[in-house]
């Protein structure tokens, strides 16, 4: 069907992205993100002490940084629309469910992308101090951005479940935490102890954000890791659309 004018997903995305900056939330988020990213890298990560010109200590903490910061962004995606009732306006405009889900998700993703891009001084620093593999750093940023998308898509779905943002936040943190930990020996040993077959344990390990992210952040871009994140995002966004459709009446 032909629509005169602009692409609808983009119109929705632009509106959403602008609304982030209409309140102090966006600026607070960006400042906290940058401060924590720096603190983790330099203090916990031992950026100087390692004596290596790379951004591993920076990227290593991203999963944990995202664990709490991304749900804070994602929690308002649909819960807010439900609470204010604007979801009824949005879904009675001539837009498809997909355009709505995708537009809002892309806005949140672009916003996290902006925050991530603002960490560029650390990239300048490492180039000033030494001679890093800039290809690996670009891959690291790319992987981090992909992982942020996966976190956000989980948040999008859980935000659609409730009109309470706090509930959405906590649910997202819990699910994301589970997805992060899935690759840890501690968790895998627990499943092994419960007598699950190796296939199941491999599958659980394969679900982990960390497993896939750490490969990319070291500069190894494997198609399987890309597919993993794409599938994650696709699945959770699809689930978002289903949940919104089921729960919009409440």
């Amino acid at each position: 069907m032909s629509t005169p004018g602009k692409n609808l997903t983009r119109v929705l995305m632009q509106r959403e992205l602008k609304s982030y900056f209409a309140t102090p939330v966006a600026y607070v988020f960006i400042v906290i993100f940058l401060v924590l990213a720096g603190a983790f890298t330099f203090y916990l990560g031992g950026f100087y002490q390692r004596g290596q010109a790379d951004l591993q200590p920076f990227f290593n903490f991203h999963p944990w940084l995202y664990l709490f910061l991304i749900p804070a962004i994602a929690m308002r995606l649909w819960a807010e629309e439900r609470k204010s009732g604007s979801i009824e306006l949005l879904l009675t405009l001539p837009v498809t469910m997909w355009q709505a889900v995708l537009g809002k998700f892309l806005a949140a993703w672009a916003f996290v992308g902006i925050a991530l891009a603002l960490t560029f001084p650390i990239w300048i620093t490492v180039n000033y101090l030494g001679d890093p593999d800039n290809g690996a750093i670009v891959a690291g940023y790319f992987g981090s951005f992909l992982m942020a998308g996966a976190f956000l898509s989980v948040g999008s779905c859980l935000s659609a479940l409730t009109r309470n943002q706090v509930v959405a936040f906590i649910l997202t943190v819990v699910i994301c935490f589970a997805l992060l930990l899935a690759g840890w020996p501690l968790v895998l040993d627990m499943f092994r102890g419960l007598g699950f077959p190796q296939v199941v344990i491999d599958a659980i390990a394969g679900l982990s954000f960390i497993t896939h992210f750490s490969a990319i952040s070291k500069g190894v871009i494997d198609l399987r890791d890309l597919l993993y994140f794409a599938a994650m995002i696709g699945f959770w966004l699809y689930a978002s659309a289903v949940v919104i459709d089921l729960k919009k009446a409440d």
Binding site: G5, K18, S84, G85, E88, P94, K248
Partner: protein, 316 residues
Amino acid sequence: MIETRELCKHYGGLRAVDGISFKVEPGEVLGFLGPNGAGKSTTMKMIAGFLTPTSGTATVCGFDVQADPIAAKRLMGYLPEGAPSYGEMSVAGFLEFIADVRGLGEERRRRIDDAVGRLNLAGVMAQTIDTLSKGFRRRVGLAQAILHDPKVLVLDEPTDGLDPNQKHEVRALIQAMSRDKTIIVSTHILEEVHAVCSRAIIIAGGKVLADDTPQALEARSRYFQAVSLSSANPKEAQELLARISDVSAVEIDPQDGRVTAFPRKGRAIFDAVTQALKQANFQFSEIALEQGRLDEVFRQITRPAGAPVAKKKEAA
């Protein structure tokens, strides 16, 4: 044109909307009346394509709302209950967003100016919607609904929260637009039905209980064509009027002592009453021919006689 066929919405065991069928043609303004919880909003949400019906269909200008939602939504302007919008946006920003979603393109500026002019929003264009009064927010919601000059308008309580002047303006706006559009308006303000609607549907318990013009609904009232008068001697007036053959009953209002003579169904008694008063040389200060009372008809239709609660107790 809007048409619904056997539209139903059930929530578990609750039948919020239970087989509602009607058809509204261009040029008609249909008033949707009913007590709170009657299913007015639920029906409108289904027509607007927000809620999925449990069964039945709704079509807008021939497009099925479920099978072809985008085509139906393009032709429709919808004001949801409570006029929700994006509170952090400015009025101008919000209307521009709606214009973009509606794909107005080159017409955009002209259409926005038109809607802003019709709803007197020019003074608040730069304000964020959250800071507006309830009346202004409602008007922003209306501006959003009429922005693309839709063929079909579905307005859920468009005058709720407006002051009398604004109510008057919005009613005038609806009437001005009604010539070439199909409009459904829900309300629980009965005077509004008179002011804007060419037809009224009364629903309660999810069912259509009456579907008629406001005048015909009023004619169902027992006050229709009744004659009332005030005098110093109500008892005597009652006896006098009760003797007229077409008068079915004469009542005295216990509060102000006003005497009302009710006609037998379909009869006019005004002439007979004035004649009888003249012959008896009866003194009265003032006399009036009553119109039907819509609120009385509304109560009659939506609250059937009898007290089912008390009966249930007896049975137990």
